[in-house]
Structure formats: structure tokens, C-alpha cells
Symmetry: C2
Subunit: 144 residues, 2 copies
DNA sequence: TTCTGAGTTGCAACTCAGTTGCATATATAT
DNA sequence: ATATATATGCAACTGAGTTGCAACTCAGAA
């Protein structure tokens, strides 16, 4: 799930046709170096450690990343979206888990749960592009 | 999915240990008489047709219903929750579909997709209480 | 009957996450 | 150097839901 600390984020940005800027690199790095999707405020805090960034800029960068498929916007069942890395060859699609006690969202191993969207054209004349699977419960930490 | 128009909502409230009041009945009816989960503003509008209701009261009634399991709070991938009827013997758990063009949320036939949460204790020491499956795509209306 | 207290509703003001408009800064092209 | 496009910042705004508190309702006690 985590990208290497030595990954060249500027390259990743270029490959995804995003003009590389210091702030964009910092935002991408903050998301990529995590094992779980983060809320915008958490990303904000992570970026602020090194660089100063305005929240509007952050949201605009997040929108851009989501648009380019670089990042995925996930709903955690509360009011704040979480942002995690998008799918790539070495980053498979996977389900997520949200702790209803502490609110933390965790990525689940892709093997634990997989669904083939292609096979779901069935029923009605809807076009299905994506499935979002969210497990809810109590995380390891909160079980005490 | 829909409850009968002639269903006695006051009885339903009592069975779920909720003090029956005119507003609570109106809110429950507005949710129950739909084929899809509604946003709070939609429920508001539906109730307003017959009775006047304050939004704080509505949210408090929704919280109460969700608490009692009478109603389920669903995230549609946008910022507004949707509220649909909770599980009963004649209202099975089911997945939902959200149109990314018009934002409408639809209930999917329970047969289309079913998952047994009991079988998912696997992996890690998490306790899993619930699975939320949301399909995204283009609805029949928006395909034109 | 009147009084009391729990439960219900309404109103104003607030929070929180995100957005809009517009001005400034930075980069790229001519 | 000048023009154009893109990126960032700041203030004010929005939409969905929440909080605090006062007013109302209604069952049971005195
Ligand atoms: Zn937890
Ligand atoms: Zn993930
Ligand atoms: Zn649609
Ligand atoms: Zn439903």
C-alpha cells in the first residue's frame, strides 16, 4: 500500500499529466506515504510540517488528483472524505474498514475481498463503473 | 422496498419503542413510502407538504430512528446522507446504486448482491459489524 | 384541579468540510 | 520585455448537520 520513501513523486505527477509543483509533490507524498486514507485536515497537517499550504490550494490539488485518477476520494460514513492512492499496477483496488468508535479508516488486503465490476452489468439498464465496499466495526486498537 | 400506504406507522413506532408523535409518524411515512433512500432535505420537503417541521426536529427524529434501527443512514459518496428503511423480515439488507451524474441513490434487489458479514471475522483482530456496498455509475434516466 | 417533571419541538447561533470569487504570484511563450 | 496561462492565497460563502436553551405537551402526583 505504501509507496517507497524514495519514490520520485515529480515523475509520478508528470506521468499523470499533472504539472509538478512543490505543493503538489508534498500533497502526493503525504498521501502516498500512508498505510491508510487520510482526511483533508490530516493531509493538511502532514504537509504543514514541511511547507506552508492554504486549505483552498489543498482542496484544489486533491480535486485535481482525483480527477486524474491519481488519488481516490472515499467516504467513511462520516462527513469528511478520505483520500487514498488510486489504483495502479502495484496498487490494487481494495475494500476499506472504518472503526465506528475512533473513526479511523483502514485499507483491507485486496485478497480479502474482490469483486469484478465487469460482471455486474446485470439488472436494469444502469451502467456500473465502480463498486465501493466499506466494512464497519471496531478496530484492533479500540477493542482494548 | 416500499411499505403499504395503509401501514400503521404509529404501531411501527411503538413496536420500536419510539413514542409516537405526529411529526415522527410523518417522517417515518415519508421515508417508508419511497422506493429509494432520501436526503434529509427531501424528507423535509415531503413532510412539509402536510405538516410544518423544523429542520432540527427532523434531524433529531432521524437520529432517533437510526438509533432504534428503524432507519438506516447511508452515505452516497457526496456530502449528504440518505435515509432509508432499516432491515426487517420483509425488508432485507441490500446494496445501493448512486448515479454520478444526477446523484440519485437507488436500492438494488437484495438477490443481486449479498454478503454474509458473519463469515468475515477473518484477517486481523477487527470486529466487523456491517458491510456497506455502493455501486456507482450512470442511472437509467441519465443514459438518455 | 393544579403542580411537577420527563419528553418533544422550535429558534438562533454555531460547527465543520468544502467551495467561490477575485487578487496576486509564478511560469511559459512570443 | 510583454503577454498569456497556470498556480496559489485570502476572505467570504455554502450546505448539512449540531448545540444550547426556551417554550410547549402531556402523564402522573398532590
Ligand atoms: Zn477504532
Ligand atoms: Zn485503501
Ligand atoms: Zn442519473
Ligand atoms: Zn435501500
Amino acid at each position: 500500500m505504501t509507496m517507497s520513501k524514495h519514490c520520485n513523486y515529480l515523475q509520478v505527477l508528470k506521468r499523470n499529466s499533472v504539472d509538478p509543483t512543490p505543493l503538489r509533490e508534498a500533497v502526493l507524498r503525504s498521501i502516498a506515504e500512508q498505510t491508510r486514507p487520510l482526511a483533508a485536515t490530516e493531509i493538511m497537517a502532514a504537509v504543514q510540517i514541511r511547507t506552508s499550504i492554504n486549505k483552498v490550494t489543498l482542496y484544489r490539488i486533491l480535486d485535481l488528483f482525483v480527477d486524474k485518477g491519481l488519488v481516490k476520494r472515499l467516504s467513511a460514513g462520516d462527513r469528511a472524505f478520505r483520500y487514498g492512492m488510486g489504483e495502479t499496477h502495484h496498487h490494487q483496488d481494495h475494500a476499506h474498514f472504518v472503526c465506528t468508535r475512533c473513526g479511523v479508516m483502514e485499507c483491507l488486503e485486496p485478497e480479502l475481498f474482490h469483486m469484478d465490476v465487469k460482471k455486474l452489468h446485470i439488472k436494469g439498464k444502469r451502467i456500473i463503473n465502480h463498486v465501493d465496499v466499506r466494512f464497519e466495526g471496531i478496530c484492533e486498537n479500540c477493542r482494548e
